[in-house]
């Protein structure tokens, strides 16, 4: 294990922790601009986190230990996921511990904890949100796995850093299969991160809410952890997308420290473009009824499987 690998690993985790709220802030800012509202600062999520960390925690009377433990578990899994996603460099010592399929498992663990905690207190809204989250999750997960399988088949490995490295170094060619899976991945990203066609992140009390409904009972530092974890989740998904579909500029191990230095501004650029794109998608689309969400995710699954089949047939 060379020092460069350790530095890359630490840098990636630190970047994810620091940049995730800013990315969320940037998406919110773009949305506000597109909707002709006065935009909040990019730093707004940090202010929110600082405020929440300074407040006392109020627990429901019948909250169990699970309810108190869940925010740390969710936050922990998200940090662990950030550690194995190659956002800046591919030489990650921790990435040997978990491949792309284990990454999906990590994300699922976080979902289980959020849902269990939401049902723990026993309020109607929490249970409702948890059930909807599970519905979205069980439909989005196969689609996400299919997306990862296509990339894994193209590069003959399930390790995410090796996939990114393989896609950067191979000859430039048109991959219809990757184009299909990119669209499928975008749909999964929207659904999993409670973005607009499936859930509205800007709403707080609405009958159709999913993610916010699960966090209603949380307060103080617990809520801060949960919100930070949600920002990290969005950041992680964006970075998985970059690793699979636009991996150019990610520092490879052979590139040395110089490549790593170059990767940071490129990542910022990719995040800025992706965030603006996300805001445009969210502004253009209307929220679906909850019962239409399965159709939305079935489309994602269909596109991912089509990508897989097209790859098998055309070899591209």
């Amino acid at each position: 294990m060379t020092p460069l690998r350790i530095v890359t690993q630490l840098l990636e985790i630190a970047a994810a922790l620091i940049a995730a709220p800013a990315f969320l802030g940037w998406v919110n800012q773009c949305r506000a601009w597109l909707q002709n509202r006065r935009a909040p600062s990019v730093l707004q999520p940090y202010y929110g986190l600082r405020k929440l960390f300074g407040k006392d925690v109020i627990l429901a009377e019948n909250a169990s230990a699970l309810f108190r433990f869940a925010p740390y578990a969710v936050f922990g899994t998200m940090v662990a996921a950030a550690a194995i996603i190659p956002s800046m460099g591919t030489g990650l010592p921790l990435s040997t511990a978990a491949d792309a399929i284990a990454l999906v498992g990590l994300l699922a663990t976080a979902r289980v904890f959020v849902s269990l905690a939401a049902m723990d207190v026993g309020t109607a809204f929490g249970t409702l949100g948890a059930r909807r989250e599970m519905m979205v999750g069980f439909l989005a997960e196969p689609a996400l796995l299919m997306v990862l399988f296509v990339a894994a088949m193209i590069s003959h490995t399930t390790s995410l850093p090796l996939i990114a490295e393989g896609l950067t170094t191979r000859a430039l060619a048109l991959y219809p299969s990757l184009a299909f899976t990119a669209v499928a991945f975008t749909l999964v990203l929207l659904a999993e991160n409670a973005r607009i066609p499936v859930d509205n992140p800007a709403t707080h009390l609405e009958l159709t809410m999913i993610h916010e409904a699960m966090l209603l009972e949380y307060s103080g530092r617990h809520l801060a952890m949960m919100e930070w974890a949600a920002a990290l989740k969005l950041f992680n998904y964006a970075c998985i997308g970059f690793a699979l579909f636009i991996p150019w500029g990610t520092g490879t191990e052979a590139g040395g420290p110089a490549a790593l230095m170059l990767a940071a501004p490129l990542l910022a650029l990719k995040l800025a473009v992706a965030g603006a794109g996300l805001a445009v998608v969210e502004t253009l689309s209307a929220k679906l009824r909850v019962f239409r969400a399965p159709e939305f995710l079935a489309t994602a699954f269909l596109l991912a499987v089509l990508g897989l089949l097209v790859y098998l047939l055309l070899g591209a």
Partner: protein, 222 residues
């Protein structure tokens, strides 16, 4: 595996998009959009034909590309749009099977078609042989679209899309049919379209609707 040449990559892209279009036709319930998708399919077919023509240098393929453009991108869609306006049918009824179910059946059909095409394309000697599976899938998906629809109008659009699939299949297996056959098929499609247009009016005259399940009962009174 060495990367394919760029025009073959573009052709594969066209083929993949054709497959995607077939699926969007399968799920589309507005007849106007269905016709637009058919026109788009024709345009992709025209592009694919041109690509193959440039690659192989066969003169008759240019001609069939022009024919595709004139007939399938401009002619038939215009005719269909006029029919839709005159007959005032904009929506198809609920499909026979629900949307997600149809999609899953469609996926199985694609798997079947790809399996079917494997031995055939192993025998073909053209550079475009790998797209044969997609052509068969497009044909079978058009079949499925016809089966799951109730209105005569969308069944005809699906029928035309099936013809597109056949054309694409012929191109990927043998670089297109002989010119005489192609002209004959084009004429057939045009005539069939005109006859079916007359049929539409007759069906509506009889039953006040284009819903084909009225044709299933033999007697006029139940």
């Amino acid at each position: 595996m060495a990367p394919l040449s760029f025009d073959l990559q573009l052709l594969n892209g066209c083929a993949a998009l054709l497959l995607l279009l077939s699926f969007s036709m399968l799920s589309q319930r507005r007849i106007v959009n269905l016709v637009n998708l058919l026109a788009l399919q024709g345009a992709l077919l025209c592009a694919a034909t041109l690509l193959v023509a440039v690659r192989t240098g066969q003169g008759h393929l240019y001609l069939s590309a022009v024919l595709t453009l004139a007939l399938k991108v401009v002619g038939l869609p215009l005719l269909l749009h006029r029919l839709i306006r005159r007959l005032n049918v904009y929506w198809d009824a609920e499909p026979v099977i629900n949307a997600s179910g149809t999609m899953l059946i469609g996926l199985l059909i694609v798997v079947f078609a790809f399996g079917l095409a494997q031995p055939i394309s192993a025998l073909a000697s053209t550079a475009t042989r790998s797209t044969l599976g997609i052509a068969i899938a497009v044909i079978l998906l058009a079949f499925l679209t016809m089966i799951t629809r109730r209105k005569a109008m969308s069944q005809v659009v699906a029928f035309l899309s099936m013809e597109n699939g056949l054309f694409f299949g012929a191109m990927s297996a043998t670089y297109g049919m002989p010119m005489v056959v192609e002209l004959g098929v084009a004429l057939d499609v045009l005539v069939a379209m005109l006859v079916l247009g007359v049929f539409f009016f007759q069906i509506r005259e009889q039953f006040d609707s284009l819903d084909l399940h009225h044709l299933e009962s033999l007697k006029e009174t139940e």
